[in-house]
């Protein structure tokens, strides 16, 4: 797989669909500009209907953009049909050719490239070894488990050495355990093959585990682009904060800067938070608190009323009320710590670096 890695660039891409019921046109993807570096693993993440699959299918060539231009390795590819594009897709339903055995499925793209038999044989067996399917080449696709079918689909896409590998929710048909195994595998194989990958999913933990960079989309628009850490710890807006992991929101007004920290007035109490570098005094702001970094104790910023307190094994789960705002708190490794019971009042504490202003 010594072939040149290619980057992908989307330049102000839009796609318009017509709602079949109302006949109204709407933007499935709106004015999206992206730069995917060669060799990177990038995930398009978002709820269903956010335009992530449409974006992927535009890169593959199955859909044509209504505005903008797509570049692959610097070349504009808008007018190219899918078979002329240097991309290969791994489909959600695997889409293996059911009338061929594993070998012929993987060899399909190579045969179209008119390679000689010996080369094809070698390449196919090599790639099957890479995905962990040695000795399976003679089987029919329906004799494989779901996970194995997914590996064949991956091998088939890898073997033609595309400039970019595209994944369309490839793990969503697998059961939970297998999903975790397969995502580690996909990451390993992508790194070994050193190939650019664009991966579509609605599963945030999958996106976190796999990606160099996550692109979060909402209603056809890119919400945030960043590394898994960036989008988790420094979400740009409430949608991203809520979509990636669990989040509590505290609404308040920015007061002033205090060194590295921002001072924010929440319910009349001044708390220390991070972010809000350019906020003006008096500006409305929202603090994002992750459940595992908020702490209940006998003293802190605010008194809160515990309404749920359950032991979950790894952590103690609390639901607490701050006024009429419900917050969720995970107290990890609860053994030996003070546990608050339902109905008790406790105080909420958090460190400034764990309270991100958006």
């Amino acid at each position: 797989m010594a072939k040149e890695k290619k980057g992908v660039r989307l330049d102000h891409i839009s796609k318009i669909y017509r709602d079949p019921k109302t006949g109204k046109e709407f933007y499935a993807v709106h004015d999206t500009t992206l730069e995917i570096a060669p060799g990177a693993f990038v995930t398009l993440l978002g709820p269903s209907g956010c335009g992530k699959t449409t974006t992927l299918r535009m890169i593959a060539g199955f859909e044509s953009p209504d505005e903008g231009e797509i570049y692959l390795g610097g070349e504009p590819i808008n007018a190219l049909t899918p078979n002329k594009r240097d991309t290969a897709m791994v489909f959600q339903s695997y889409a293996l050719l059911p009338h061929y055995n594993i070998f012929d499925n993987v060899a399909y793209g190579l045969k179209l490239r008119k390679m000689d038999k010996e080369t094809i044989r070698k390449k196919v067996l090599d790639i099957l070894a890479l995905v962990g399917l040695e000795g399976m080449e003679g089987r029919m696709t329906n004799q494989l488990s779901d996970g194995q079918q997914q590996r064949v689909a991956l091998a088939r896409a890898l073997v033609i050495e595309p400039g970019v590998l595209l994944f369309d929710e490839p793990l969503s048909n697998l059961d939970a355990k297998l999903r975790v195994t397969m995502r580690t595998e996909i990451r390993r194989i992508q790194q070994e093959a050193g190939i650019t990958a664009v991966y579509v999913t609605h599963d945030q933990s999958e996106a976190m585990a796999l990606s160099d960079e996550i692109i979060i989309m909402e209603k056809g628009v890119v919400s945030q682009i960043g590394s898994p850490q960036e989008v988790y710890y420094r979400p740009k807006n409430e949608f991203v904060a809520d979509f990636i992991g669990d989040a509590n929101f505290l609404r308040g007004k920015f007061v002033r800067r205090d060194g590295q920290n921002a001072v924010v007035n929440v319910n009349g109490v001044e708390v220390l938070a991070s972010g809000a570098e350019n906020a003006a005094a008096g500006a409305e702001t929202v603090i994002v608190l992750r459940p595992e970094t908020s702490v209940l104790s006998d003293e802190g910023y605010f008194p809160v009323k515990v309404i749920v307190s359950s032991f979950m094994g790894a952590y103690q789960l609390y639901h607490v009320m701050l006024g009429d705002n419900k917050l969720i708190i995970h107290e990890y490794a609860p053994q030996g710590k003070k546990i608050y019971a339902m109905g008790e009042t406790a105080y909420l504490r958090f460190a400034p670096e764990n309270a991100h202003c958006i």
């Binding site: 796609k15 318009i16 044509s64 897709m89 293996l96 059911p98 179209l112 696709t141 329906n142």
Partner: protein, 588 residues
Amino acid sequence: MARSQSEELDRKKLMADPIMVTTIAVLIAFLTLFILYPLAILLVDSFYGGGGFTLDTFRRVLAMPNFRVAITNTLRAGFLVGILSTAVGLLFAYVEVYVRVGKFVGGLFQVVSMLPVVSPPFVLSLSMIMLFGKAGLITRFLLGIYDNNVYGFWGIVIVQTLTFFPVCYMMMKGLLKNIDPSLEEAARDMGASRMGVFVTVTLPLLLPGLGNAFLVTFIESIADFANPMIIGGSYDTLATTIYLQITGAYDKEGAAAMAVVLLCITLVMFAVQKYWLEAKTAATLTGKASRGRMLIEDRSVTVPLTALCSLAALFVIVMYICVPIGALFPTWGHKFTPLTFKWFGQVFGRYHGLQAFRDSFVLSLISAPITALLSMIISYLVVKRKFKARGFIEAVSMLAMAVPGTVLGVGYIRGYSGGLFHSAQWPVFADGGALHGLFPKGLMGGIYGSAAILIIVFVVRSLPTGTRSGISALRQIDKSIEESAYDMGADSFTVFMTVTLPLIKDSFLSGLVTAFVRSITAISAIILLVTPQFLLITVQINEFAEKGSYSIACAFATILILITYGSVLLMNVAIRFFGTSRAFKEGE
């Protein structure tokens, strides 16, 4: 918002695929030339006269008493046949899906659903006459009735009902199987009787489906030519009246106007059936049954229902058996022993049987693969591709389904023996014209009377059935399987040949045989177009039945049934050995 860029890009992508573009262009040309053009020419013929637009032709034919009678005759027969076929079909389907029946009865059902597929259209008319006619085996020899008249309204209704109810039976069976048994169990559980469940749950769910089946048979009955021709007697229907108008009275304009009337009736009903009832059926019965149904074992229900169906089934089977046996009796109605092959001898000796079989066989054999391939290509384009002309291709293919054979036949006569492509109207093709030497009969005029036009008619007549089964087969295949091949670097043609066609091989093979069987048993359009140098079996049967030579007609029909039955058997063997392998079918 403007979608112009994506439309432009889609067009560019399509143009980058020359095989696709050529295929689409050829298809559009074919559909326009052989479906739209002949129908358009009928409109021109019937509305154009004396140098301009006129309604005179319509006034003239509508003033003909026999035409007005034919309209009411056709609608009366069609209405009753529709109701009876739907009722009998529902009974059969209900018994099969709801009632525990023995192996023997189950086998009977299978045979009954198979028979109409493999038999020529007028077999039942023949046996009806031979069993119940003036010299009928049952009427005269069993019951001693000497003057029973089977010709006319009731003859048509009985024969058409027996011919078309298996179609309703298969449709109803599909629907009943889709009803979730828990709906009925819930009604039972709340205290409804079995009859109550049927009336309040099953029947309302089926209602659109029943309407659908009724209209499908109604259209079939109206379009039917062969049965009214043989058993109609003086009860003329639209199809036979049009036929007589053009072959007897040589009134081409009049026939064209009549054909337009018939076409309008079938089109309206087809539109209602296709766009209203079919959608409603799909809306009420979407779900698959979640699990098996508890079959009714109560003897007070099973015994009468099973007995009724078995009797009906046996009756149908006797009707069919009557034809080969009729061909073996020395003289039907007078002398029954010893059985003889003399009629078969006469078929081949005196009546050019060999040529008739050769002509029918060869022409059908040529048209079958063309039909099968065309219908698979159309289904592929309609289901899997998006392009501007897709709507046109789909609509015209569907339109062909609603066009009665007689109408198409008249359209072809008018379109290809005269009309646009005839030399006389275009100076360059006329005597002394620039292109006269190349096309002495005009651009397409030469195909009239040739084998080509017969083959084209066979193709056009079988295309809708093939397309419909191709479309439903393709809808079952996950779109991304073809996309993946496309994505790997295959062009459309390669995708079609290496992925689509192998996956619908069963459908293709059965489409091949269906096209062959439909062609070799076709009569309605072909009888208008066949010229004396071709002898076709169905036309021969019709001729001998008209003359009253039932034994010869039976001998012809028997051999035809053997050919069609043989090819269906062959198809089943072919599907078992070359069809989609069992290995991957189970995996789906």
